[in-house]
Amino acid sequence: MRVNHVKLLVGGVQLRDGVTTVTDILGKIFTRAGLFAVAMEKGYASTIYGAHQFDPMLVTEEPPVSYGDPEVDVLVALDYDSNPDAPEQPNRDTVLRHGGKLRDGGVLVYDSSTGEIPTGALEARGIQVFPIPARRIAQSELKREIVKNVVMTGALFRLLQFDSDEAYLRQLLEERFLRKGREVVDLNLQAARRGRQEVERVLEANGYQLPVRLEPRPGRHRAVYISGNECLGLGAIAGGVRFYAGYPITPASSILEFMEQWLPKYGGRALQGQNERESIRAALGAALAGVRSMVGSSGPGISLKVEEFGVSGATETPVIVVDAQRAGPSTGMPTRPEQGDLNLVIGGGHGDFPRIVLAPGTVEECYTLMLEACELSDKYQCPVFFLTDLNLSEGKKTVLEDVFRRPQVVRHGIVREEDVRAKPYRRFEVTPSGISPRSVPGTPGAIFKASGAEHDEFGFVSIDPRKRAAMVEKRMRKLDTYLQEDWKPPQVFGSVRGNPVVVGWGNTRPVLEEARLFLQRRGVPVALVHFTHVFPLHRRKLEALFADAGPVVVVEQNFSGQFADLLQRELRIATRRVNKYNGVPLYPTEVAEAVLQALQREGAVVRIGGDSQPVPVEVGRNEHEGD
């Protein structure tokens, strides 16, 4: 029996079945129990109702490297109905879709209220099947359909041999429902108990031996169960952001919700823009008034803001731009992850202007790197992009609280009344660092004119060729200063010298780390070089790093290899590529295998899940989904 290492998957019909209500409870409780829960492979549809939804979760004793491979130990199917007219329809198909991921000897628990599912094929693989009529119990016995998921949760806890005294569950239920009355808590506990009982019944009837177990490790540490977007929101608040604007869009809407809830409590304001441009313009306005400002969106909204990035660059008005990436182009697949916006954020905008691109590798870095983004935007007075992706943004995991250090905020180079008494204030003074003294409007003597049109040191419009050249150089010089003073080299795992090097950036780090470990175990000593400070790149330092490296394989979740292109452009090294762009997250084993393939030949491009034959499709058998 394996202890404290379980991968679960909960599936059901979106909106109706409450998939994430269940996983959120699980994640919270496991975290309280001192375990580590990682639910980063969000499977949901952008339509609101009726599509299939699933949420895998890895639970471990020690912090796991990544969320692991797709195989699961326990599959929980919340779907309760089956429509004989439409066998493929989403509201009964968790088992059909995910049964194949169940490990031999794993556990399937499903809602059997409307009848049992044929599971012979699974049982033949030693899978233990637990049909639980959760909804029927909730409706007929307990008279509250809504508690069906608690029945399932109780069943699941029994299957994991967890919380047998109901202490964790009771605590959570009391926090949530006590204000509605003790009866509500009791009803829920009763539901959980019924779930346990049903499991007992099946266990007895089949003489199953459960394969996995979760043991609490209470009191080891303080931890929260939290998403990437929530962490970056916290980071922004700790980093001094007091104005946030966003127009709703998956998967950035949750940042807006977080900010609307919390910013006012820290004296700030959050604005739901009436469009993508009102958002960033208002943020620029607030930044102009001296307030640290941030906007968040995803691909379509970032594309729409491009013109304003130039305004930020040219008027030297800082703004942090979170791009919670999703699969493009265009509307694409709004609920699927991708790393497809790098070219957009490094190239979007006419003319040359300075910008910095950061991409956190983990939920924790959504906090820590955001602190850096806050300082960088303030110091360099230019757009700072912060690239997450759907899974990192919406995915949740157990995070140790010591991550949340509270920083000293530093306001960079803002002039005060005293500073401008001696000589006339020049907002765009040409300086060796490229950074000019900023002023907060309202400061007597420090009046400025800022313009997206080319200007002189005072901000007055000018097309004098010498002034123009000096201004362009001044602005672009900020990037040299940044590279010298603030750029962070990539993290290196293993030894680069003579070894194949896997390169990654942003949210794929955990998977790449795990893939590296797999390869190491298989006797292939690869190094992993992983970037969070994605643009600009420090050419000299990186040349040194890659000087004696073996073949370089850049693994990215996009079609064209946007970061590989950037590396080639900056370092002129040959890259091989592993790309995945089918909307499914990257997994360690497939990455390891793809890297092995890529190592076989120069210039290799290995497409995970790609290069498929034309896919026959029929109207009506189509897995339809919205925008």
């Binding site: 004296g267 607030a286 930044a287 001296g290 409007p441 004119k449």
Partner: protein, 287 residues
């Protein structure tokens, strides 16, 4: 006229002979009126944020003292909104063209009217895109027969006042830059209005709009009648429509109906306000 006050507004600005409007441009009247109004209200230049649109008109921001910003075409209102939300002590005045505001910028106009931030928008309405050399703006066609509307390419004009009324603006006024004193009066009232104040100022483009000239306006402007109740939105609609039927152009406050406001505070921005804040209340919800 307070010339010492006016002088204050000429400091720290592109001097007069550098102004690159065509001689006779209607924007000169607005500039004069703006200086008068600011002088009268004893606003200090450092308290001011002038947000210019893109166009001949938006250049006004550099022709008088005070902080100024100038970003994208159509964006003035939204920059102003953010600045004002960040610091309610700033006096924010957006100064833009009719093209800037009603063509590309209508996406902001409609919504900022509704949001009602305590700031001013003065549109220098000349019926053309001046700076790009005289193409029709959305307000083109004032006083001209409407067969223009018979094809998609040439829609009938936007009536700025009606659009503002439909968009829930709380202060809607009209002026004519040929009458500097009245324009200054409108600016004063707009600044004093606790909420979003929109002034549609007819500022003739002497180069590209040879139809709606100073004389043309002078023959048609008429002050809003004394008995008009500016707090009545329906009366405001009626007034605008009725003037249009008579071929006349109302000058004055057409609508004024402030909404109750909660007091607002400058957002924290200094190190001591921001450093080491306590995240415990947030973290607690995730345990």
């Amino acid at each position: 006229m307070n010339t010492k006050g006016i002088k204050l507004w000429e400091e720290n600005a592109v001097p007069k002979h550098r102004i690159q409007w065509c001689p006779g441009c209607g924007d000169f009247g607005v500039l004069a009126a703006l200086k008068q109004a600011l002088t009268e209200l004893e606003v200090m230049p450092h308290e001011l944020l002038l947000v210019g649109g893109i166009g001949c008109s938006g250049q006004i921001r550099n022709y008088l003292n005070g902080n100024a910003f100038h970003g994208t075409h159509g964006g003035a209102l939204a920059y102003g909104l953010g600045a004002k939300m960040a610091n309610p002590d700033l006096k924010v005045i957006c100064l833009a063209g009719d093209g800037d505001t009603f063509a590309i910028g209508v996406e902001n106009f409609v919504h900022v009217c509704r949001r009602d931030p305590d700031m001013v928008l003065l549109v220098m309405n000349n019926g053309v895109y001046g700076l790009t050399k005289g193409q029709d703006s959305p307000t083109a066609g004032l006083g001209q027969p409407d067969e223009r509307g018979s094809r998609e390419e040439h829609p009938p004009m936007v009536d700025a006042l009606l659009l503002a009324l439909a968009s829930e603006a709380t202060f809607v006024a009209q002026s004519f830059s040929g009458d500097v004193k009245h324009t200054a009066r409108m600016i004063v009232e707009a600044i004093q209005h606790p909420g979003f104040a929109f002034i549609n100022d007819f500022s003739p483009c002497v180069t590209y709009n040879r139809f709606n000239t100073y004389d043309w306006f002078r023959e048609r402007v008429e002050h809003v009648p004394e008995d008009h109740d500016p707090s009545d939105r329906d009366a405001a609609w009626r007034l605008v429509r009725e003037f249009a039927r008579r071929g006349k152009i109302p000058l004055g406050v057409v609508y004024r109906n402030p909404r109750p406001k909660r007091p607002q505070r400058r957002l924290p921005l200094w190190e001591d306000e921001l450093s080491g804040v306590d995240l415990e209340p947030v973290l607690a919800t995730y345990r």
